[in-house]
Amino acid sequence: MKTTNNSPSRRIDFSHRFLLFIPVETRRSRRVLVIGYYLFFIAFSAVLLWFRGPAKYGRLLPLTFYLATMLGGLTFSGPVRLFSSWQRNFHMPLEDRRDPVSLVWKAASRPRLTSIDRLDEHDIALRDRAHYLAYSALRWPAILAALFGGFFLFDASPEQIGHALLVASVPIAVLFFSLPQAIILWTEPDFESDPEDLPSQAVLPGIPRSDSHA
């Protein structure tokens, strides 16, 4: 299945139809993916806290970025198209490139850099809108931290403050790195099929198809 350039779901990169064997073509499957993504973090955090304690909880922080790149937006990989325009300037096929970034990229066997379409006005509006929604939602942790953090800070030692900040930064990082992509995956409609991909149908059930005469 392909999507045309006039499709309303162009924010989803149709070169990545599957993410962890889950198809991203329908909104329903994408919503399952988003829910699964956050459930994974909740479960993993609970397991880590249970077995290793809060001291090692900060080890989840790198994972928040790595897994967010799987959703796309931040890098070339993932179903959501790359957000930033300066990263999008890498237009040459990867095989022809000799700059250090591309050599490292090739060595790391990252996905190809070709077929990166420019974002049009509609794409940019969707990207900005998703970031606005994510930002508006994520202001609340900052406000709550400012309001209620003070009660904790009065009695805590510097080490306790450091641990608390590290622990609190993990869920914030999970949301901050992934929420715009999750909003796009959640809200974008189903992919539309090209007409040539659809099975040719008779105009009316009783009338045989024209190609069946030949």
Binding site: G58, L61, P62, Y132, R139, A146, P158, G162
Partner: protein, 198 residues
């Protein structure tokens, strides 16, 4: 953005708004430095947050009904802000004029700018989170090169500007980048008449 005055200064010109943004962040920086000197943010950290919320709510606007930037959600304040002593007295007497809802409504261009500046602000906050990420990575390594006593302070010095920026940055970008506001035709008309009379 609304045509308003802050501390008696008109904010029609971009240069004035930029000075206001610089002044606001300078004030916050001074408070951060003062908090650090006084008690290492133990108590003063909370007041720095409150200062940022005050600046955001009453001066910058955006995430509240007041301030220079129109409310991002387009919701008007529940009651009009008293602009004179007479209005204050009317308010005290229980006569509250209805707010001007049109003043809080964003047009299509303003909504587009709102979304764009949030995208830009998001990149900056992500940059700060990446710093936090680097600190955590260094801590997770077997040989930590950050002394244990410095780590909480370092984290706090990343988180505190992060929260201050998260609260104020989109509005500051709007105030910084928006061009000079054009004069209303009826305001500029007398000047033209005088000019032509010479």
């Amino acid at each position: 953005m609304r045509n308003k005055k802050v501390f008696g200064l008109s904010m029609d010109q971009r240069s004035h708004r930029r000075r206001l943004v610089i002044a606001a962040y300078t004030l916050l920086a001074v408070l951060v430095a003062g908090g650090w000197v006084l008690d290492r943010f133990r108590t003063t950290g909370l007041y720095i947050y409150f200062a940022a919320f005050f600046i955001n709510y009453f001066v910058f606007g955006g995430y509240g009904p007041y301030g220079l930037v129109r409310p991002f959600t387009g919701t008007a304040p529940r009651q009009a802000i008293p602009r004179s002593l007479v209005e204050v007295q009317l308010n005290l007497a229980g006569i509250r004029p209805a707010p001007e809802t049109a003043d809080s409504r964003n047009d299509e261009r303003e909504l587009r700018i709102r979304d764009r500046v949030h995208y830009q602000a998001y990149q900056w906050i992500c940059g700060l989170l990446a710093l936090l990420w680097l600190v955590a990575m260094s801590e997770n390594g077997k040989s930590s090169f950050i002394p244990a006593a410095v780590l909480p302070v370092l984290l706090y010095l990343i988180v505190l500007p992060g929260i201050l920026l998260a609260v104020t940055l989109p509005q500051a970008i709007i105030l910084w980048t928006e061009p000079d506001m054009e004069m209303e035709p009826e305001e500029s008309a007398p000047a033209t008449t005088l000019h032509s009379a010479r």
